[in-house]
């Protein structure tokens, strides 16, 4: 099969974080780990091109994936492989998005990452195989990746034995008895000594280590971000009041305060009466400007990022977090004030 292989800017040899804003491109032949992967794939398959994108760019521009898949198709790609991305979150998300975009376009596709990679949550509708924790396990990871690709190329489904990982869909259905009766039955099971029985598996949440303190806040570029449903009056982006699937960004340039009538909150989880009377209560722009004038902070970033945190799925919230982090890093923000409601 003719394969297009995706790697990030680092594995393409273009540099680390300083190059993470690089846009998408397609390069002929195999690059970086793709060379070893090509030899493991054997003579039946060929890496005809390498798709590349910077991690920050990919996190902030989800459409990069579909664009690269279109280009790959034009080059005659019959299959797309992405990674291995180990535990690197933005790279993992990019690999998942590329593989998902290829699957959606009808191409066989496969991504490789560690099961703890937060990008795994983005891999719905495509196939992922397990990689090691870090690039030190590159050799083993590539061997498993190549073997899995061979199976996919021959039309087989991957199983856990092949190292398949990824989100398992849970679907609604009707039970035989109502939830109260099932709870009573579960009490009896539990009192009988069974501590495993449950209808809901415990989700495995990652722990985030907070960043270190800012060395000199009087010199720092600070951004305001919020999950308080904070939008320009009239909600031009139609940000949802609950179960948000997107986030918005708007300029704060030239504004000294978030005035009533200019901004409002569309959050569905609390009474917005007091937020709308003085929107600074949600996004503290007035105080932040005061601190900026006094020199207590270096400078306030020229726009805010915001969403609604009300009934939001953890998967969406995690995606917003990764996209925000990439966006803020590209803007050289040293710290954010995230107002939660």
């Amino acid at each position: 099969m003719r394969i297009v292989h995706y790697v990030n800017q680092f594995f393409a040899g273009m540099g680390g974080e300083d190059s993470a804003g690089t846009g998408p491109e397609l390069r002929d032949g195999a690059t970086g780990p793709g060379r070893k992967l090509a030899s493991l794939l054997g003579d039946e398959h060929e890496i005809i091109a390498t798709a590349i994108c910077g991690d920050d760019y990919a996190a902030g521009h989800p459409e990069f994936a579909a664009d690269l898949v279109v280009q790959a198709r034009q080059q005659g790609a019959e299959m797309v492989m992405a990674g291995p991305s180990f535990t690197s979150g933005r790279y993992g998300m990019a690999c998942a998005r590329i593989a998902a975009a290829a699957s959606e376009a009808g191409l066989p596709a496969l991504a490789s990452m560690h099961p703890d990679n937060p990008g795994l949550g983005e891999a719905a509708g495509t196939t992922v195989v397990e990689s090691g924790l870090t690039a030190r396990q590159m050799k083993d990871s590539l061997e498993r990746f190549a073997a899995a690709a061979g199976k996919i190329a021959s039309g087989e489904e991957l199983t856990a034995q092949d190292g398949r990982i990824g989100p398992v869909a849970r679907t609604n259905r009707m039970a035989q008895s109502n939830a109260a009766e099932r709870a009573v039955a579960l009490v009896l099971t539990r009192l009988g000594g069974d501590t495993e029985a449950s209808e809901i598996p415990l989700p495995d949440f990652d722990q985030v280590t907070p960043a270190g303190p800012v060395a000199d806040v009087t010199d720092a570029l600070i951004a305001l971000v919020t999950e308080g449903g904070f939008v320009p009056a009239g909600n031009p982006d139609r940000l949802e009041s609950a179960r948000a699937t997107k986030w918005v960004r708007h300029s704060l340039e030239g504004l000294d305060s978030a005035e009533s009538g200019s901004f409002e909150s569309v959050h569905g989880g609390f009474s917005t009466q007091w937020a709308n009377a003085d929107p600074n209560r949600i996004l503290p722009l007035d105080i932040a400007r005061e601190l900026e004038r006094e020199g207590a902070i270096g400078r306030l970033h020229g726009e805010y990022l915001g969403t609604t945190g009300n009934g939001t799925t953890v998967a969406d919230a995690r995606r917003f977090g990764m996209e925000w982090a990439a966006e803020l890093r590209q803007q050289n923000i040293q710290a954010v004030i995230l107002t939660a409601t």
Binding site: A169, T171, R173, M174, N178, F205, G311, A315
Partner: protein
Amino acid sequence: MQAEAEAGLTRIVHEVRGIDLGERTSFSAGHLTVGEEDALDLVRGPAFAEVRLGCTSPGDSVRIVGVLDAVQPCSKGPGGGGVFPGLLGPAMPVGRGSTHVLRGAAVVAAGFLPRAQEAIIDMSGPAAPLSPLSATHNLVVEFTKADDATWEDVDAALRRGLVKLAAHLAEAALDAEPDAIEELAAPTQSTSNGKPRVAVLTNLQTQGKFKDVFVYGRSLSGGLPTVISPNELDDGAVVSGQFGHPALKNPTYLHQTHPVVAALRASDDLELAALVLCPEPVDQANKELVSAHAARLCKELGVDAAILSKEGGGNADADVTLKMDRLEEEGIAAVGILAEMAGRDGTGPPLVVPPTKATAMISTGNYDHRMTLPATERALGRERIALLDQPSTDEIELPVAAIYCAQSTLGWGLLTCAETV
């Protein structure tokens, strides 16, 4: 023994098999006729420019849009005294003596209130099995706000109007031959029968105006968990004023007919020991305080296990799972009933705040699962669905989250969720 028998409640059940509007309220051979003018007079007041009534029964091609609260008709005698204490009757303990209930009927309010997320009931079609109010003969109250009234006035007037109507309708059955008489024993502290004792922990949302629940007419906001007899629920001790999260809503109707209480009353193996009502504070420190306090109360009550329910979205997961953990630490087996929020494709993490020690959970299904509901002939409540910007009678596509009580963790429903095989 005698004292115990007197502490119980006799439930006199009248099955409702049909409903319509007429000149005078009456109940005969299972048919409930609602005297339209008398009923309207019970709701009318300065908060409303207009009040309207409609009836609908299971199987009708009817969609009720903007459902607020629903109440089961009940009465302890003429005049409404004794039911819905603190709201209709005096704020004094209830749950003893006898109570007439119209089983299979409900008084439903539908329309706009601030912060009310639009809730849908379809009386037929694929969403009908997902709402307990699709299976009842409903008197639907629609309203238009008076220009000089506040929405808070409207909310309070609706709540009073609904319980007055509920008492009024049940009064029509006071002299009717009942379909069943059910004796509900009061929980005792006795462990003599050897059955494991189970507490029912019911979290009530306390998030301010339009998101509050009333116990004897008062919010539990700012308070600590409290123990009442489950029999007090049958007399309307808990009345809902919470209009967020339609699928997760626990209306007055479901407190009156509390499915976990009912399942424990029916159990041959377990003893219903206590009902513990808990506020759902909005901040973490108070969630932890209320959870620890609830677990201590259960320890004092000498229970072996507890079944927990919540009301509200993601943050309310913590009100269940923190309590589950604290109960397990006290040596009490904890089973939580929770709804999943796993995203449209069902692949996201199902819970926002999972327990760290406890494990036993019942699922009422994935909130984000989408459904297509066919067009209906008639709509009640609102003419348009604001959420979708479509006429209420259209074919619509929406998440289970919008279907009234579809995932209520008081546990009335069959909906659950499992891995796709």
